[in-house]
């Protein structure tokens, strides 16, 4: 895009309610095409209200369609949630670093997602599915709040059926008619059978969930340098200028959101970062 500080107004072409508070918008991309790397995000803008950093959740190979999965939590995201097809919203991006997909080629892949954290990881799964033979074992460990909060349910089952990935879903709370797992996503790490030394892990979710999952992965022998995490910080400019998203020496908007464990772990121990 020409000016990274100026949003382009784009038309919403599709809207899907995924769960009670999560929806997916398809948008006509600026300039007709929108190439991106899985893990990158856009700033979505509601004129007169503000902007939110939202990851791109669509298919990397489908550059003519821009897709975002959004959880309605506050001013901007709630208003995005009531925007109708054919209405327009502002888009700036794409910003930030991507997941280490090429580093994972030839290795096993463990994707660990918590809640809305599955959205930034979905493009990784699309990319892997397109070149499945390039990867070893692929597992998705996914934690959600309740069974009703599980995102992309049909797609997950389809990927499992097609042998794209091994799927393990766990929820924090469920009634007795749920036959799946209950408990934190970290509990599922023990079920990975692939060689941990040849595994690349990609983690996205609340920071506490990523910290405890990273510890569990290190425990089973996954190497620090092969654990990638997506960090979330309050963002304003998204161009490494305003400093809102600073994390130690890094700007999450430019040096991240995807980091490797050794780069961010020191700041996980420090308060007020």
């Amino acid at each position: 895009m020409s000016d990274c500080l100026l949003p382009t107004m784009c038309t919403i072409t599709g809207r899907k309610q995924d769960t009670a508070d999560v929806f997916t918008l398809s948008i006509d991309p600026p300039d007709g095409e929108f190439p991106f790397e899985p893990g990158q995000f856009n700033m979505l803008y509601i004129p007169g209200v503000g902007e939110s950093a939202i990851s791109i959740s669509g298919r990397p190979a489908e550059a003519n369609k821009l897709v975002h999965t959004i959880r309605a939590v506050g001013d901007v995201t709630r208003l995005l949630g009531i925007r109708e097809t054919r209405e327009r919203i502002g888009v700036r991006g794409p910003f930030g670093t991507g997941w280490p997909i090429s580093q994972a080629a030839g290795k096993n892949v463990v994707i660990v997602a918590g809640g809305i954290g599955l959205a930034p990881l979905r493009p990784v799964i699309y990319a892997i599915a397109d070149r499945r033979d390039d990867y070893g074992d692929v597992s998705l460990l996914y934690g959600a709040r309740t069974p009703a909060d599980v995102l992309y349910r049909e797609e997950l089952l389809e990927w499992k059926r097609a042998g794209v990935l091994d799927l393990a879903v766990t929820v924090d709370a469920a009634r007795s008619d749920w036959s799946g797992d209950v408990g934190v996503v970290t509990n599922l790490v023990g079920r990975i059978h692939s060689d941990p030394a040849a595994t690349v892990a990609m983690l996205c979710g609340p920071e506490i969930m990523m910290r405890s999952t990273a510890r569990a992965l290190l425990d089973i022998g996954v190497e620090e340098a092969n654990i990638a995490v997506s960090m979330e910080r309050n963002m304003k400019c998204a161009t490494a200028f305003c400093g809102h998203c600073q994390l130690g020496p890094y700007f999450v908007c430019k040096d991240g959101p995807v980091f490797f464990y050794p780069d961010v772990a020191p700041y996980w121990q420090q308060r007020e970062f």
Binding site: G115, G180, G205
Partner: protein, 154 residues
């Protein structure tokens, strides 16, 4: 017996335990199977075993009048189920139900307690392993309590 010993030795819980110690406690174990939907343990019943799950999934639940069985956690392949055999008064604190067909090794609690009393080194090794499991389970439960995916954005 050889096969059974190997089954035990393969499990991460028993890994690194000297062969003679494993043989010493293996006599307390036996293979068991539970059909999907059947109870494995009931709150208040004597806790006379712990289980090394080999296949399938089981739910740890508590019954509340008017609300039915409330699910706290599930355990599956590779997990250890039950530590009440170790801690007086040796009674199950939760209900456990097989959600799928479950195959497990049941380790007899009374038999193990006697062995631990007779051989403190083996007892210490078992305690150490259970302490690890308890700590992990407690950490997981605390994180679960935080309700990280609720709409309070943290």
């Amino acid at each position: 017996m050889k096969q059974f010993l190997d089954l035990l030795a393969e499990h991460s819980f028993f890994r690194d335990l000297p062969r003679e110690d494993l043989e010493f406690i293996a006599t307390c174990g036996r293979n068991v199977a539970f059909k999907a939907g059947t109870p494995i343990a009931r709150e208040g019943d004597p806790a006379d075993a712990f289980y090394v799950i080999r296949k399938g999934r089981a739910a740890i639940e508590m019954y509340a009048p008017g609300r039915g069985s409330l699910r706290v956690q599930t355990v599956g392949e590779g997990d250890i189920l039950g530590w009440s055999w170790l801690i007086p008064p040796h009674r199950w604190v939760f209900d456990v139900r097989a959600l799928q067909d479950v195959r497990a090794i049941a380790m007899d609690g009374r038999c193990l307690r006697d062995k631990c009393d007779a051989n403190h080194e083996v007892g210490f090794q078992l305690m150490r392993r259970f302490a690890q499991i308890l700590t992990r389970r407690l950490e997981a439960t605390r994180i679960q309590l935080l309700d990280l995916y609720s709409d309070k954005v943290v």
